[in-house]
């Protein structure tokens, strides 16, 4: 099965092409083929996983050589897959959650005339994501990296007949391209230093390169990760990306693509292990985004945008963990897996709510949905408890580990990162509870034409499965350190360090903060009346709900100067370069026009000209000029 891992990529890719090429003929069965392709990938991935479980921990790294991609002179680039515990974890997450989301989409997109194309894009996304995580070199990873970017663009802009959706798709694409420059630069530096882009070769000889070079590579990789994972300062696209259909938000913008940045950092762990500076910057970016995302989440009334802010914030946790080095790698991936389940579940829940509320996303118009949509309420509630980090739900096992790990270290770092992670947990509890209570509790604030009803089983079944994962997966993977041990061949064995505060203290503090956040949210949005229209925002709310004016800042600081620069260059091109060329032509034309007057055909004027010319010549000779 391990040698058949190429099927993981080939099947969804082939299905995607068939769906695009088959045209309307595939309308009747295309979506089921999409589901089947994703499910097949899951079966193959699961088979590979089982086979890997049967091997010793040391021999769980399996390289699959596919073909020689580029061969010229000294340079040979092979396309190959690397199947190891890390990549197979991603494969299982992507294909399992992906298949559930495919299933959900069958019902969610039922009335969309372009459902077939939607499934083609979803399949394309699955194929690209699997290529990204299975690649055995940065170059092949880059192909998948761009592939998910393309699929994300196509899916965000799926309803591109609305200009703002098309704009959101463009924004996501462009911001991601900025991040990609980081990856390209990193690849350039890697190639210059190592002469190869293969993971195995690079990580073997990583000691031979100076720390300065490794720091540069690490920072360039971080730029790439901030773009894909919506981290500061490239986080601005994720909120707008919610314009896409909700299954897309669940699949791409919660469970898979945005986690690619974390994957990149963890995969490059051997490089980061040798550069303290780059690691601290990664952790700082994670910590900053974690708080920013949480604060933005507190101010959003749009359910999907609140969830998007939450995603940003949770990935901040993962980045923070990844920046802590080997002690955090496994926890970053652990949180990534549990987050993939509960956040995808909540996005699907949000989709179910929107489905019931005429596609309204304004939480101020929800309320009291728990009786009308029991399944959605329960499944969403499990996701909510999981993200809060309430024991024994999934998020508790993964997030608490990150908070503990953040408190490990020397000097200022454990205090800053640890307290940030701790406060982040409280903020998370507040904004997620706000979202939960506003949607499902309190009084009904629907518009008259809303008739909330439970979604069809095709939508509820995936939600139920994901909520079971939200509830139990963390406990299952954490018991006996099952998951961290499983990842150890890749992430390396981390010595146990004592955090600066003792573990029970950290855990108690976290739970107290979480409880506090929930209680405040309950008092404000559960028990009291929620205004149907957003009240006049205070300054803080205004800033947060506008994403800290990042867009305005980017526009003012980057976009506008850029525009001015290009305008100036265009003007200079027109005035100076074109001016010089056209000016020469015009000048010659004018000279011709002037000389034309002398060719009048008048005999006497010719005679006069000749006379004047001869007189001039003679004068010249006489005066000795000539």
């Amino acid at each position: 099965m391990l040698d058949l891992t190429w099927l993981l990529i080939a099947v969804p890719l082939a299905s995607s092409f068939v769906l695009i090429l088959a045209g309307k003929r595939a309308d009747a069965w295309g979506h089921w083929m999409g589901v089947a392709a994703s499910a097949t990938a899951f079966v193959v991935g699961f088979g590979a996983f089982l086979q890997m479980l049967g091997l010793d921990a040391e021999s769980r790294e399996h390289a699959v050589h596919l073909f020689t991609w580029i061969s010229g002179g000294e340079l040979t680039v092979d396309a190959g897959l690397l199947v190891d515990p890390l990549s197979i974890s991603f494969v299982l997450l992507v294909t399992f959650v992906g298949t559930l989301i495919h299933l959900y989409s069958v019902a969610y997109m039922e009335h969309d005339p372009r459902r077939r194309i939607f499934f083609a894009y979803l399949n394309l996304f699955i194929a690209a994501m699997l290529l990204l995580v299975l690649a055995d070199s940065y170059l092949l990873l880059f192909v998948g990296w761009e592939g998910v970017g393309l699929a994300s663009y196509l899916l965000i802009g799926f309803w591109n007949h609305k200009p703002e959706y098309a704009t959101a798709a463009n924004k996501a694409f462009i911001v991601n391209r900025i991040g990609d420059i980081g990856l390209i630069v990193a690849m350039g530096l890697l190639f210059a230093n190592f002469g190869t882009l293969g993971f195995a070769e690079i990580f073997e000889s990583v000691d031979s390169v100076s720390t300065g070079q490794l720091t540069a590579i690490g920072l360039a990789l971080l730029v790439a990760a901030t773009g894909k994972s919506a981290q500061f300062p490239l986080q601005s696209w994720l909120g707008d990306a919610m314009a896409g259909p909700t299954p897309v938000s669940a699949l791409i913008h919660a469970a898979t693509m945005v986690t690619a940045g974390v994957y990149l950092i963890v995969r490059s762990g051997d490089i980061f292990a040798l550069t303290e500076t780059a690691r601290v910057v990664v952790a700082a970016v994670g910590a900053l985004t974690l708080i920013m995302g949480a604060i933005i989440g507190m101010a959003k009334d749009d359910i999907k945008k609140a969830l998007a802010a939450s995603t940003m914030s949770q990935i901040g946790y993962m980045m923070l963990a990844a920046g802590l080095g080997p002690i955090g790698y496994a926890f970053a991936i652990f949180h990534l897996i549990t987050h993939g389940f509960f956040k995808a579940g909540m996005f699907l829940g949000a989709g179910s709510v929107m489905h019931a509320m005429n596609d309204s996303v304004d939480m101020r118009r929800y309320g009291a949905l728990r009786t009308a949509m029991v399944v959605t309420w329960v499944t969403f509630g499990l996701g909510w408890l999981a993200i809060l980090g309430v024991p024994p739900f999934s998020g508790f096992w993964s997030k608490d580990k990150i908070i503990e790990a953040a408190f490990v270290g020397e000097g200022w770092q454990p205090w800053v990162f640890g307290l940030t992670a701790l406060i982040g947990a409280g903020l998370t509890a507040y904004y997620m509870s706000r979202l939960f209570f506003m949607t499902f509790h309190g009084k009904a604030r629907w518009t008259d034409d809303a008739h909330p009803h439970e979604s069809p089983w095709l939508m509820t079944v995936p939600m139920i499965v994901l909520s079971v994962g939200s509830a139990l997966l963390g406990w299952f993977l954490a018991s006996g350190d099952r998951f961290t041990t499983w990842l150890e061949p890749v992430t390396g064995h981390a010595e146990h360090h004592e955090p600066v505060l003792s573990v029970p203290v950290i855990m108690t503090l976290t739970l107290v903060l979480v409880a506090f956040g929930v209680v405040v949210a309950w008092l404000q949005f559960g028990r009291s009346e929620v205004a149907k229209e957003a009240p006049a925002p205070s300054l803080g709310v205004l800033v947060a709900s506008n994403d800290f004016y990042q867009d305005s800042f980017n526009r003012a600081a980057l976009q506008r100067p850029g525009t001015h620069l290009t305008r100036t260059l265009v003007y200079a091109d027109a005035a100076v370069v074109d001016g010089a060329v056209n000016g020469t032509g015009t000048a010659l034309l004018r000279l011709g026009e002037f000389l034309r007057k002398f060719q009048s055909g008048q005999v006497r004027s010719y005679a006069a000209l000749i006379l004047i010319a001869v007189a001039g010549l003679i004068a010249g000779v006489v005066l000795g000029v000539l």
């Binding site: 060719q599 055909g601 008048q602 010719y606």
Partner: protein
Amino acid sequence: MSPIAFVYLATVLFGIGAAAVLTRRNAIIAFMGVELMLNAANLAFVAFSRIHGEIDGQVIAFFVMVVAAAEVVVGLAIIIALFRARQTISLDEPAELKG
């Protein structure tokens, strides 16, 4: 009488001839101006020949007379042809030399 006076006379004659060519519209008058200029040139040749004590200038003066006679024949023929075609001998009327 110094031979240089003849050079001055030639200059004056040349000026009168040139003025006639440039200012008069009548082709015959202009033609006479041309003859006057040629004669001025001849006079200058002969004068210079005398000043330098050599015969070349006088020889050239004969050549000029021959060329002038030929030119008169051609020129008058053109003027007659012009008159036949346009019923005028004004020099400003035709502009066929214009490009």
